[in-house]
Amino acid sequence: MTAEAPLLSVQGLTVSIGGARIVDGLDLQVARGEILALVGESGCGKSMTALSILGLQPGAAEVGGSIALEGTPLAMLSRRAARAKRRQTMSVIFQEPIAALNPLMRVGDQVAEALILATGAGRATARQAAVEVMAKVGISDPERRFGQYPFELSGGMCQRISIAAALIARPRLLIADEPTTALDVTIQASILDLMKALRRETGMGMMLITHDMGVVAEMADRVAVMYAGRIVEAGPVHELFARPRHPYTALLLSTIPRLTGARKTHLRTISGTVPDIGRWPEGCRFRTRCPLADGACATQPLLAAARGGHLAACWHTDLLETLA
């Protein structure tokens, strides 16, 4: 393990299913203790990116490009060793906590099992560790909860169980795919607080996948915005919100109704709809919906340094002010 290597480094990731490219040449990195938010709308490929990093992509998917954990490219390892490396380094929490848990297994056993699988710990040790981590993620009376089944717990409580299972083996990277989308807003607030506290205490890095710009604003250190299988903009969170350098990001931020300002006015819209997977336009994929598009956009813009210290894939970043 090299000291300087990023926790996660993805280069040129492609994912195809049945000839359709779902993810098309994606680069991203997560440093130790960093929260990277991967943002985009349905079908943009953000969840498929996460699944491929985890090695959980569907059987029909062909994954290309390089994924390295702590400087070790997984492609250099045997299948078995790559799996072990993934298990030791990262964990995942999914959107639907109830669907992510086995309905026929006591929740405590599901937490303990994660440690047994990752480290080969014995049952008694794992049980003890499970009770401890359950207490840590805010489950009251963990000894009693240990023996309960998912149907006996609320959605928020099930998500805490998922988080406990994800954390028990002390991962250095947590991949959280819409972890609070299925939860009520007051429960979301407490889960987000918990995730921030855990990052502070353990120095764990996080890749947070979400479509909610509010969650991004609260949690992320850096943000990568995906559209149609590619990253269109990436940068530090304050920079990206204050001065978006890609028209998609700018428009996305301007369409959201706010808790302050004018009411009952016409909201900003993005014309058209997200193109279907595999029917993406040539060149810049946002150009069919972009108010700044012109002939230049028929050629694909590369993700390049834009003003404001972040990256954007757009030929017309200098015209962005005219959008406002």
Partner: protein
């Protein structure tokens, strides 16, 4: 004073509890809700899952059995009408738009057939049906080319336009919108919200807008009713409620929404509620919010607060501590 279009007084919708229920033998999904909706106005019902906001809407539309209370339409108590008249009135004057447009449309029926079905059931002359079909498709911004498509051949945003067009076909005065944009992508949400606002301005429609998304509600509603476990916690004009919420639950709900602005969001002092929403089967005796309330006092445990004017605010609320 002009008569409100819809007036709901002390509405209660109770269901027999499942067998495993403890303490109480009924599930009080809606328990004493009152509000009025004026012509051309939008009233929003907000709250977290299980608060009874959708059931209230269903009760008004006759889709859930009313236990007690009065629903009056243009001054006429709907409950006292004979069944055939009641159904005729409901289907002529009120319609609903559901959350998931894919589930609300028959996948084997073309867009045109789906929109025309309510008019055919009503036996309108076919020339009139064709005229209205063109009109409502035009109103929601669907092109005539799309009329012969199937739901699977159009996007999610377009499907929700079809559902809205179908709701408009019989020329209703009130539309119950049950989470109409929650299933849509962020870039499509603002399009649909604009359509709803335009239709209201053009046709003088009234909306009962059911949503958990307070940013959307603030933008579109004239008046807001905040529900928790079947009861109204606070209600008032949108500006008053958002600018100066007085009920501790409303305060917590508003402060839990992550703002899409990293500077503002990270500077906020957030109220994070402890604990989970109790099951409606074991709702507390006194104030339903007592188990999570940061300002509770002894009598909140036993005594249900009256609904009254708020201390130092322009809203009405149910809170012992904040009553005027």
């Amino acid at each position: 004073m002009t008569e409100p279009l819809l007036s709901v007084s002390d509405l209660r919708i109770h269901f027999p509890a499942p067998r495993r229920a403890h303490r109480e033998s009924v599930l009080k999904a809606v328990d004493g809700v009152s509000f009025q909706i004026g012509r051309g106005r939008t009233l929003a019902l907000v709250g977290e899952s299980g608060c009874g906001k959708s059931t209230t809407g269903y009760g008004i539309l006759g889709l859930a059995p009313i236990t007690s209370g009065r629903v009056a339409y243009e001054g006429q108590d709907i409950g006292t009408l004979p069944e055939t008249q009641r159904r005729a009135l409901l289907s002529r004057e009120m319609q609903i738009v559901f959350q998931d447009p894919a589930a609300a449309l028959n996948p084997k029926m073309t867009i045109a057939d789906s929109i025309c079905e309510p008019m055919r059931i009503r036996r309108l002359p076919s020339a009139e049906i064709q005229r209205r079909l063109r009109r409502v498709m035009d109103l929601v911004g669907l092109s005539s080319i799309q009329a012969q498509r199937l739901p699977s051949q159009i996007s999610g945003g377009q499907r929700q336009r079809v559902v809205i067009a179908r709701a408009l076909a019989l020329d209703p005065k009130l539309i119950v919108c049950d989470e109409p944009v929650s299933a849509l992508d962020v870039s499509i949400r603002s399009q649909v919200l604009n359509i709803l606002m335009d239709l209201q301005a053009e046709l003088g429609l009234s909306y009962l807008f059911i949503s958990h998304d307070l940013s959307v509600v603030r933008h579109i509603a004239d008046e807001v009713v905040v529900m928790y476990l079947g009861q109204v916690m606070e209600q008032g004009a949108t500006d008053a409620l958002f600018d100066a919420p007085r009920h501790p639950y409303t305060e917590a709900l508003l402060s839990a929404i992550p703002l899409p602005d990293p500077v503002a969001q990270r500077a906020r002092d957030r109220i994070v509620l402890k604990g989970e929403i109790p099951s409606p089967l074991s709702a507390p005796e006194g104030c339903p919010f007592v188990t999570r309330c940061p300002i509770r006092v002894a009598r909140c445990q036993t005594e249900r607060p009256a609904f009254t004017a708020a201390q130092g605010g322009a809203t009405l609320l149910a809170c012992h501590e904040r009553a005027a």
